[in-house]
């Protein structure tokens, strides 16, 4: 690990001004909360910041509150707290499930929701200091010619990472919003708009500027008669990222779907919302045939690399399974 200096900040505002000041001084600075992800990147010398701005020293950034129409979750709330929160379990079941499926118990005890949605890719080329890949300022995405069994089948190019977050697909399916603090104050945007495809910018996974930080996630209550389902497939049952995951929310009247959200993880550089499949499901009876058709539509345009074609069949099965389960 490269030596660095840690700065404990006392407020969001101080965090932002500190980041701004360091950037103006030509120093590299990163924010740290749980550290479970960042410390590994630093140990592997993939991230080599001069400074860490420690958000844990800011009081009051860890909370789960219910107020007018939904939940507000502080960015420093740990995955364990979300997984175990009674109200989240009752009202936002897929979020609790997604949090409980992430990483391992130790990591969930330190990892935060803010950190989770801001994770860097777990692509093995990105994670190795030996590969100066496109995303780290190099010329090539090594996944193209290399081992791409876990890489993107949708939304890829020129980089083919998949977004590693378990929580993000669930949050997007729940129409969550994210609050961001920066030099010009705070703003709240739809979480779906937070993530960035590589064709827009292949060096980052989200819209955050270097001196912006995530402060809160807001999740509205699901509409009445809604059910959700989170399904994650991986090689190993703990401490493993999704090969494919699907977060689904279906609002139905009788057997007829009124509205649906189908969001895939592990298949694209961002949480992948299957909007065409959602539109197809609206007004339909949820059964084997419609869900099979919806799964076909969800994977339309999927372009496999040499090793990851199996993900298409897998993703279709999961979409079908999760929509049926959510109906």
């Amino acid at each position: 690990m490269k030596s660095f200096e840690n700065i404990d900040v006392k407020s969001v505002k101080e965090a932002v001004t500190t980041l701004q000041r360091l950037r103006q001084q030509g120093k590299t600075a990163l924010v740290v909360s749980g550290g479970s992800e960042l410390l590994q990147l630093m140990k592997d010398r993939v991230a080599t910041p001069d400074y860490l701005v420690n958000l844990k020293s800011i009081p009051g950034l860890s909370y789960i509150k219910e107020e007018k129409g939904g939940f507000r979750i502080g960015a420093l709330t740990t995955l364990s707290e979300i997984e175990e929160n009674r109200a989240v379990q009752e009202k936002l079941l897929i979020l609790s499930a997604a949090a409980g499926e992430a990483a391992s118990p130790q990591i969930r005890n330190s990892g935060t929701i803010g950190g989770n949605i801001c994770q860097r890719p777990f692509c093995w080329y990105f994670r190795s200091a030996s590969f100066t890949c496109l995303r780290k300022g190099g010329q090539v995405c090594y996944a193209v010619a290399g081992d791409n069994r876990f890489h993107a089948i949708l939304g890829g190019g020129p980089s083919y990472i998949v977004h590693p977050s378990d929580l993000a697909p669930a949050l997007v399916a729940l129409d969550a919003r994210v609050r961001i603090a920066g030099p010009s104050g705070e703003k709240t945007i739809l979480l779906e708009k937070f993530f960035v495809l590589p064709r827009v910018d292949f060096k980052k996974e989200n819209i955050l500027a270097p001196d912006e930080i995530v402060t809160e996630i807001q999740v509205p209550y699901p509409k009445p008669q809604s059910k959700g389902f989170y399904h994650k497939v991986r090689e190993r049952l703990a401490w493993d990222h999704a090969i494919v995951s699907v977060a689904t929310v279906v609002q139905s009247r009788g057997e007829i779907c009124q509205d649906a959200r189908v969001v895939l993880g592990g298949v694209a550089p961002i949480p992948w919302r299957a909007t065409k499949a959602e539109a197809f499901l609206r007004g339909k009876r949820i059964d084997e045939a419609t869900t099979e058709k919806a799964s076909e539509i969800a994977l339309e345009g999927a372009t496999p690399l040499k090793d990851n074609g199996y993900k298409i069949a897998l993703a279709k099965s999961l979409v079908q399974r999760s929509v049926l389960a959510a109906a």
Partner: protein, 734 residues
């Protein structure tokens, strides 16, 4: 049947368990010495390259850097690291991504690591080859002047061959002949404790605190490679966090520590990171196994021919052999195994080096042949279970058939087995089995036992205890042989200046080699005790016995004397033994039959192992608690190798891309069912207290037992490891 023992065969907690779980046990990484420096290793980023120049001037100027060594200033041969060609601790050319280029010692870890980045190395890239088959092609890049087939002496030659009977006749007698190829991958030992070595020089004498499986062989290697007499080298390892074969002997890290400590004039601690451990040590050799098998209609094997390639990586540290056919009665046999060099991570000893990958191939193929013949696999394995070693020599004991019968009964084979792929639903049930085991051999052992005046005893043995419970096993054997309660026994281990020779914890040899020496040393000291006690008990020495710390007259147990009284005047008595028993006209083996039940989700390709039964013939069990844990640990590693583990090498660059716990997919508790262990316990006439071996057998059949259950579930035969969801989905849907 097992004999009656007072200490042997019970559930005995480890004698060093307390200090291990409370953190007071001192591992090599815990050693702190005054003025000690920390070192890090720079490794080659190229799979094959000549080092044109190496410039350390910038690194030397970094404050805190005390010594830098590389191929120009530290040309030390690492003899146990490369046994067919001369290997140095720093080589030029470098032959795989991870080949050490330099090491830096500094006042702290961060400075040492920063200094690595300041060393400027100019490489001239050479063509490289990653695949064993490719490496044997005439136009393949040559890693060694004589080519890529790894030719050496003795058991390190190439090809490795074995042959008996008449192969042609065997195939003629067959009703059917089957041929197929099975492929296995490189997996890392992945032991919890990465290798650490601390070296210190005092007036020409070297002391090394090493995380080694064998203090004696580590000392011998260090002395040889550094040109020192054995008396000038001391190796200490009292606790270690496993090794599974990749920490045996002296490793380059020990030599680097010694060389850096000499250069810096201060003690040096070299620590491997997890990545260093994955790429800089070694894992299990991958293989491509081509079988031709002749069988009768009822499944009886008439002939087996094996042609195989194994990938031993850039340097030959071990045999590269494949021995999975060892558990079957094969009348006519021929094998040709070619160990091949490639520009990849070295592959050498990992728990039962030549077995699990090989048993995966052969037991999968036998399961397939049974299927094609319409024979139940249980019948197939039972019919062909080995009776005579190489169809000729009897075993010291052999209860393989009982393992099969008892294991099958426990898993309820007859009820649960069904036609492959015939189970309904999306979660398909399957059951599978395989046979395994490991050689049991006698050999050189030594022990010293001091019986104190107060009746307590002190056992000195060279064992290291890599997690096997070896210390406890030696103390149990000593207690049983002495007739002194276990609680009265103190044991000192793993220090070449203090403890006698030990073979080291590899090849499941610890109990078999050192156990008899402990018994003999106990007998030696008992004789001395009886000589002293005879007059006090008014009996002849040969009329006396010692049990529970009481010396007594065998014919009249009321005439007795506590040991402390018997020795009150004589003082401490010392028993010694060096033993080296041999087998004549017999061969030794521990045997095992494993059974697994799985569920395969055919929509996700996920395999869940539901149940696992492991039946073992290891002779007398010295410590049931530790032995059961050994069996479970082996099964865990086998399940990992079957389902998830593989070290992946990026083909264009030759770089390992998943050298860590997260991505190399070592199993977690969630992957492992409760493992039910059955010991078919019988007294082996050649083992200490009738014991054979336990350490290596349990990993051997586990991979195949899981693979065969997946076949039974899906009806698809997977011929390449690991059997991951992507492979299962491809087989089912493409």
């Amino acid at each position: 049947m097992a004999k009656d023992f007072s200490v042997v065969g019970k559930n005995t907690p480890r004698i060093d368990g307390y200090e291990r779980v409370t953190g007071t046990a001192q591992y090599a990484g815990d050693v702190q010495l005054p003025g000690m420096l920390y070192a890090r290793v720079l490794r080659s980023p190229h799979p094959h390259a000549r080092i044109v120049s190496i410039d350390t001037s910038k690194a030397e100027k970094l404050p805190g850097v005390k010594a830098i060594v590389h191929h120009q200033n530290a040309q030390v041969v690492w003899s146990s690291g490369g046994r067919t060609a001369k290997r140095y601790i720093f080589n030029n050319p470098v032959r795989y991504v991870g080949d050490p280029v330099a090491a830096v010692a500094a006042i702290d870890r961060h400075i040492a690591e920063d200094a690595l980045g300041l060393i400027e190395v100019q490489y001239e890239k050479l063509p490289h080859v990653l695949d064993a088959k490719e490496a044997l092609k005439p136009d393949a890049p040559k890693i060694y002047p004589k080519g890529n087939l790894s030719v050496g002496d003795g058991n390190l030659t190439a090809p490795i061959t074995d042959e008996w009977g008449d192969l042609e006749k065997g195939f003629k007698e067959a009703d059917r002949i089957f041929e197929d190829t099975y492929v296995t991958k490189h997996v890392n030992n992945a032991q919890l404790e990465p290798r650490v070595s601390v070296a210190k020089w005092d007036a020409g004498k070297l002391t090394v605190w090493a995380s080694t499986q064998g203090v004696s062989n580590c000392r011998t290697d260090l002395a040889k490679d550094l040109g020192l007499p054995l008396s000038k080298v001391r190796v200490i390892c009292k606790y270690m966090g496993a090794g599974f074969g990749n920490k045996n002997q002296c490793q380059d890290i020990d030599l680097m520590a010694a060389v850096l400590a000499k250069a810096a004039g201060r003690p040096v601690k070299v620590e491997f990171t997890r990545e260093d451990d994955f790429i800089g040590m070694h894992g299990r050799w991958s293989s491509e196994q081509h079988y031709k098998v002749g069988v009768k209609k009822d499944g009886t094997i008439t002939a087996v021919e094996l042609d195989a390639l194994t990938n031993v990586g850039a340097y030959r540290k071990s045999t590269g052999n494949l021995s999975g056919t060892d558990f079957y009665q094969i009348p006519n046999f021929k094998k040709t195994v070619n160990p091949v060099h490639t520009n990849t991570v070295v592959a050498a000893n990992y728990r039962a080096p030549a077995y699990p990958q090989s048993i995966f191939g052969f037991a999968s193929f036998l399961d397939q042949i049974a299927h094609e013949l319409g024979v139940n696999p249980l019948e197939m394995f039972k019919r062909n279970a080995i009776r005579l070693y190489k169809n000729k020599t009897p075993f010291t004991s052999n209860y393989l058939e009982q393992c099969i019968i008892e294991g099958a009964k426990r898993i309820d084979w007859t009820q649960k087995w069904h036609k492959p792929g015939a189970a309904g639903g999306t979660n398909k049930h399957g059951i599978g089995m395989a046979l395994g085991g490991y050689p049991f051999r006698p050999g050189l052992g030594a022990a010293t036992i001091r019986v104190n005046r107060d009746g307590t005893a002190h056992v000195l043995v060279g064992v290291t205890d890599i997690g096997t419970g070896a210390k406890t096993a030696m103390a149990i054997i000593a207690s049983e042989a002495l007739g002194i309660p276990l609680s009265q026994i103190q044991l000192t281990n793993g220090d070449t200046d203090v403890t006698p020779y030990s073979v080291g914890e590899s090849g499941s040899r610890n109990t078999a080699f050192t156990g008899p020496a402990v018994i003999a040393a106990a007998q030696d000291v008992r004789k001395q005790i009886f000589a002293v006690a005879a007059a006090q008990l008014k009996a002849k020495p040969e009329e006396l016995d010692l049990k529970e710390g009481q010396v007594f007259v065998r014919a009249d147990a009321s005439r007795k004397l506590p040991l402390s009284k018997a020795l009150a005047r004589s003082g401490e008595l010392i028993g010694r033994a060096t033993t080296n028993p041999e087998f004549k006209g017999v061969e030794g083996k521990s045997f095992a039959a494993h059974f697994s039940e799985v569920e395969v989700d055919i929509t996700t390709g996920h395999v869940k192992v539901l149940r696992y039964v492991a039946a073992h013939d290891s002779g007398t069990i010295i410590n049931r608690l530790a032995a059961e844990s050994q069996i479970k640990g082996g099964v865990v590693q086998g399940i990992g190798m079957a389902l998830t583990e593989e070290l992946l090498i990026d083909r264009p660059t030759g770089m390992p891309i998943n050298p860590n716990y997260r991505d190399a997919k070592v199993p977690t508790h969630l992957e492992i069912p409760e493992v039910e262990v059955i010991f078919i316990e019988n007294y082996d006439p050649y083992g200490p207290f009738g014991a054979k071996v336990v350490g290596e057998p349990p990993i051997t059949p586990a991979v195949a037992a899981v693979a065969n259950a997946i076949f039974n579930a899906t009806g698809k035969r997977f011929k390449e490891l690991p059997i991951t969801p992507d492979k299962i989905l491809r087989a089912l849907y493409v």
